[in-house]
């Protein structure tokens, strides 16, 4: 579904991704962990061309992602949930969710709103359909962002640290929604620091540091017998 081949990314002299190759299968739940600045967000942002790789290729469903076709490929395959939610503040919750289906998928307003309400039910915010995002708590905003991502019915959803900007008490409500999603056949790539979530949901976990994938494996392997020293050090710190 997603394939990275020898992807490198530099910002000026700073090498953020070093020759990353990776395949994500259809329906797979891939969790990416690692310390700050390890390149995990950049890697995920390469998957929808928010960052253009300096070298290497990204394939989505067999098609190479390029500067030319990115809008088309992204529109048809990929949604994203951001750390800072990035809801559109000048639109109501409902308008936030229906904008892309109406403008990009040429859905009628009625159909788009029907779907929007379905997903607002999924995230438990039907009663907030007509308010503006700034009036919601962080956790609620992120759930709206997830509903917005779902409403375009994409095969892939990328999550870039979806709970890192939240108050501790609202983290769980967002994780609960994501756990619910993990039961359906969407390909999910999640950058997170939530180890409990990773353990519960991941089909596979990647550990990244300094722009490279140092270790990957199933959660059981990962948490019980990590082989790489850096992974061990990282886990011992974060699982304390």
């Amino acid at each position: 579904m997603i394939k990275l081949e020898h992807v490198c990314k530099s910002f000026g002299d700073l090498e953020v991704l070093k020759d990353i190759s990776l395949t994500v299968e259809e329906g797979e739940k891939l969790v990416v962990i690692g310390p700050s600045g390890s390149g995990k967000s950049t890697m995920v942002r390469c998957m929808n061309f928010l960052e253009e790789p300096t070298a290497g290729q990204v394939f989505i469903d067999g098609t190479e992602l390029t500067a030319k076709n990115k809008n088309d490929i992204v529109r048809k395959n990929i949604a994203m949930v951001f750390q800072q939610f990035n809801l559109y503040p000048h639109m109501t919750v409902l308008q936030n969710i229906t904008l892309a289906p109406i403008k990009l998928q040429h859905m009628s307003k009625q159909d788009a709103e029907k779907i929007a309400y379905e997903y607002l039910d999924v995230v438990g915010l039907r009663d907030k359909a007509h308010v503006y995002p700034t009036t919601l708590s962080g956790g609620q905003q992120q759930r709206v962002a997830i509903a917005r991502a779902l409403a375009t019915k994409q095969k892939i959803i990328l999550f870039d640290e979806p709970t890192s900007a939240l108050d501790p008490e609202t983290v769980q409500e967002v994780l609960d929604v994501m756990i619910q999603l993990s039961r359906i056949n969407i390909t999910m790539v999640v950058v997170t620091h939530e180890m409990g979530f990773a353990r519960q949901v991941a089909d596979r976990i990647l550990f990244m540091d300094h722009g490279a994938i140092l270790e990957e494996g199933k959660p059981e392997h990962f948490f019980e017998n990590p082989t790489n020293e850096r992974t061990k050090a990282f886990l011992s710190k974060i699982l304390k």
Binding site: V74, I78, Y88, P89, Y132
Partner: protein, 251 residues
């Protein structure tokens, strides 16, 4: 006969010639509206250019803005009136007014639009791109609507300046309010009442515009925080400027 420049009979003679002033007023109004439309169009396009990542577009916009902003409007009007005919382009004065003043104000508006676009957090464009919106679609549906609020006050200043700047057309006998008033005043040797009336007529155009925009901005601002106000604890607030306070609360 009273020799005061503002004596009653002089006002009377002006009143009899009201049509001259009305025609000038109308011409100024039409030129201003069309020039403003042109200026907004140019301002939005070049504002988007200068906030884009493409160096070519940025350069084009830079040249336009610097060139127009640093040469007096009168010279630009003279160029259209006296310069273009040398290369065979003859424009009527009305067109010169719309074109000259529109292009001139467009440069200022493009700077206003650029600042507005750049004040929107980068995450908004990223969210739009992540949904598959093209750059232009993202601008149209997501970025520009959010800049409206921010650019409205400076934009109003530009519109008011534009209206006042139409008076420069008097220098090419443009048929506008200033020109009509000036020629009427010199032919009648009645400067005082003519200029006072003209000044008032410009004021009548500009003042409501500025007031309307100020109110509109206030409404837009409170629109986004409306629900925030409702959500705030319904305790009484004992100090003023509630919208400002609730805005902070919503941020």
């Amino acid at each position: 006969m009273n020799s005061s420049p503002f004596s009653l009979d002089k006002w009377g003679r002006l009143f009899v010639s009201w049509q001259t002033f009305a025609e000038g007023f109308l011409t100024t109004l039409v030129i201003a509206v069309l020039a403003l439309a042109l200026a907004l169009l140019l301002g939005i396009v070049f504002g988007m250019f200068s906030s884009s990542h493409l160096r070519g577009l940025k350069g084009v916009s830079r040249v336009y803005v610097e060139f127009i902003q640093n040469i007096p409007l009168v010279i630009q009007i003279f160029f259209l009136y006296n310069g273009l005919p040398l290369v065979g382009i003859m424009l009527d004065k009305f067109t010169i007014g719309v074109l000259g003043i529109g292009v001139y104000t467009g440069a200022y508006i493009s700077e206003v639009v650029r600042a507005g676009i750049q004040s929107i957090p980068v995450g908004q464009m990223e969210a739009a791109k992540s949904q598959g919106f093209t750059h232009v679609q993202a601008m149209r549906y997501i970025i520009l609507p959010q800049t409206v609020k921010i650019v409205l006050p400076p934009l109003t200043n530009q519109a008011v300046n534009l209206i006042k700047n139409t008076s420069v057309l008097a220098m090419i006998a443009g048929g506008d309010l200033m020109y009509r008033a000036d020629s009427w005043a010199s032919s009648q040797l009645l400067y005082g009442p003519a200029y006072v009336t003209t000044g008032l007529l410009y004021f009548v155009l500009c003042f409501p515009l500025a007031t309307w925009a100020r109110n509109y901005e206030q409404r837009l601002k409170s629109h986004d925080v409306q629900s925030a106000v409702l959500l705030q604890k319904s305790k009484k607030v004992f100090w003023g400027s509630l919208p400002e306070l609730s805005k902070k609360g919503a941020a």
